[in-house]
Subunit: 406 residues, 2 copies
């Protein structure tokens, strides 16, 4: 008897008809002899509606209250599914974040899971109950409701799968798997049957929206096999796992892009120890995620420090860094919001030289200027002007012949 | 410094504009030097919308899940008010039922409050925080969300006022007080400035919808002064209290009616000890409230037992009693749904004879047949054909000259 965690996203529970469809899938899994834990998002559009309400109530809503408000979206879907399942004769019980409980830190609106207490869920599973858990939410040590930030339901599902030692975590979404790139901007995009955690992590971080990066980190850490599938079809799917057997010869597995980028440059920074801390610690304190960081070579004791943040947080970042700039004696700040990040990802890069060179050559052939470069063992990211995003992605997909099955 | 509990009903928080209006009233109370606890209902119509969703998901929704679903209505309003108050510069914190916590029994959808733990709320009040509590909800001993049934927010407010030893519990609603009868069907209805708990209790039980009976019971038990006021005007109001000083000479204070009545008669019941238990215990087990009970004088060892239940529960009651009837050897059941209850209430009845006689005479003059009669120390209720409701109320209001200020 396997223990399966299934997560369904917002489009899969958008209305009662679709929730009924989820109920059928869940029952099929249960009747195949499995224990089932279902994790749901809010109906698509609902979280945005609640966020809008909160912002109408106050331009900068108190975040504790904001979290309690927007967590109602998942409360609605899990109780409706549990009502349906019970109505169809299958014992089911919903669990809110505080009922599991999923314990998080107190970073309201982007809380991190500290631990999942599994006893109550295991008890229900042992009794044959289908357990339906609210994604996206938890509680802190003081019984306040917290939410995990955008896409947090994926993280909830993987965290539950890890805590319960589930056999697999199925992520049902509106696409049927992970593609070599976004099919919306590149018609040659091909679905991958398998991908490693590290590649998926880099793809998610680099802008592929199919899984939230934190959920992939967590899956990797606890070695949870994650299967990305379509809610609307039984075909396809991509398995995200430790080691993809048939992938030895793949140098590059995907090209991603992220338009939610803004570039900030701190100009003429005195180059002495502790400068990076002075700039980035205040951002971390305000929970602003910094993506790429580039420090130029020092000239005459001064350097320029460039980094990227989410476009949504650029104003706050600018304000925070603006204060820090005075303290450290830098000249000024420059902000560019018209940028995008294009990334090439592949675990084969580790043992293959020349991937970066080929990327730069490909972009140069298209006369695309590279504004920032950052590399990891299995990824090369380039920040380019936003208007070149589609061109860069298509050219790189072609250059590495990703349309071909290996 | 007084501690004031303010409860606002669904029409008072129907949209953001009205919630802003509530915020202003709350701030005014706070700035007058009071500690304030606010209890809110869901936006008007929201609970009905959620109930409809639940019934679409399954004709007889699992009640644990149902409670968790419909409790989201209050979660929305309290967090929005707390966001607004914080946005206006006033520290405010929302409390869900499980966060207070308000501990209830496990009778999902009509739970009763067992106790209110006051420590967390008192701590916030001591720090000058405005506390905003979700009405209508609590949690049971196993951390399941429970709801208190229709109008439960009044009960929440009074229970909080009692636990916190508040100076007053203001109930803001869409009418400006308690009237001698329903102004919608009797134009001569007059607002009462004061009324006793017992009278209010009888009026609420007899169908006046301004306060939920359980909230009045609770107010009486803990001697909480309750002030019924309009959300939309600072005029008027009715104080519900232990003893209304100027009320000595009032024999009758109000006439109420309740159309949500159905009459069930168990015919030819063997008249032996334990028969009433055999009929009514099964109803109690199914949480069906029985209102009036009449047992005819026994003839030749047999009697008829007539009682009224809510029209919504008549089918279930019929089914339950139908089973009991066979066991006790009664002949059959008769059900009449076209009835209404008209009641005359007044604490002065205790010391004045002739009130009942005057009621019967008044109805007889209008040629209204009385189907059932039940009396308490301060109330006389008559069940009549539903079509005579308005006529009976108006005639009784006139007969006792309730339009005249005393």
């Amino acid at each position: 008897m396997a223990l399966i965690v299934q997560k369904y996203g917002g489009t899969s529970v958008a209305n009662l008809e679709r929730i009924a469809n989820v109920a059928k899938k869940v029952i099929r899994t249960k009747e195949a002899g499995n224990k089932v834990v279902v994790v749901l998002s809010a109906m698509s559009g609902e979280t945005d509606r609640l966020i809008k309400l909160a912002r109408q109530a106050a331009p900068e809503p108190n975040l504790r209250e904001y979290d309690s408000l927007i967590s109602t979206g998942e409360q609605t879907t899990i109780t409706l599914l549990a009502i349906m399942l019970n109505g169809m004769g299958h014992k089911a019980k919903s669990f809110l974040g505080f009922q599991v409980p999923v314990i998080t830190d107190q970073a309201f609106s982007k809380a991190r899971i500290l631990r999942v207490q599994k006893e109550a869920v295991l008890k229900e599973l042992a009794e044959g109950t289908i357990v339906v858990v609210a994604g996206f939410q938890g509680r802190d040590g003081e019984n306040n409701i917290t939410t995990l930030g955008r896409g947090g339901s994926d993280t909830s599902a993987v965290a539950l799968a890890a805590a319960l030692d589930a056999d697999v975590c199925d992520i049902y979404t509106d696409v049927d798997g992970v593609y070599t790139t976004d099919p919306n901007i590149c018609s040659k995009a091909r679905r991958l049957s398998q991908i490693t955690y590290d590649e998926m992590l880099e793809m998610a971080r680099a802008g592929a929206k199919v899984l939230q990066p934190r959920s992939v980190e967590l899956a990797k850490k606890y070695n949870v096999p994650v299967y990305v599938k379509s809610s609307f079809s039984d075909e396809g799917g991509t398995l995200v796992t430790k080691e993809a057997k048939n992938m030895e010869k793949e140098i590059v597995s995907g090209v991603t892009y992220d338009r939610d980028q803004a570039k900030i440059t701190v100009i003429h920074v005195p180059d002495r120890p502790g400068i990076a801390v002075a700039i980035f610690a205040p951002l971390a304190e305000h929970n602003i995620m910094v993506d790429m960081i580039i420090q130029n070579a020092s000239i005459a004791g001064y350097t320029d420090m460039t980094f990227t943040v989410s476009r949504k947080e650029v104003l706050e970042a600018k304000r925070i860094i603006g204060e820090a700039v005075q303290g450290i004696g830098a000249d000024k700040l420059e902000v560019d919001e018209n940028v995008a990040k294009v990334s090439v990802i592949g675990s084969g890069m580790i043992s293959h030289a020349g991937v970066a060179a080929k990327i730069f050559q490909t972009l140069a052939n298209e006369r695309i200027n590279i504004l920032m470069i950052s590399t990891s063992e299995i990824k090369v990211s380039c920040v380019v002007e936003a208007k070149y995003t589609e061109l860069a992605v298509t050219a790189l997909h072609d250059a590495f012949e990703l349309e071909k099955e290996r």
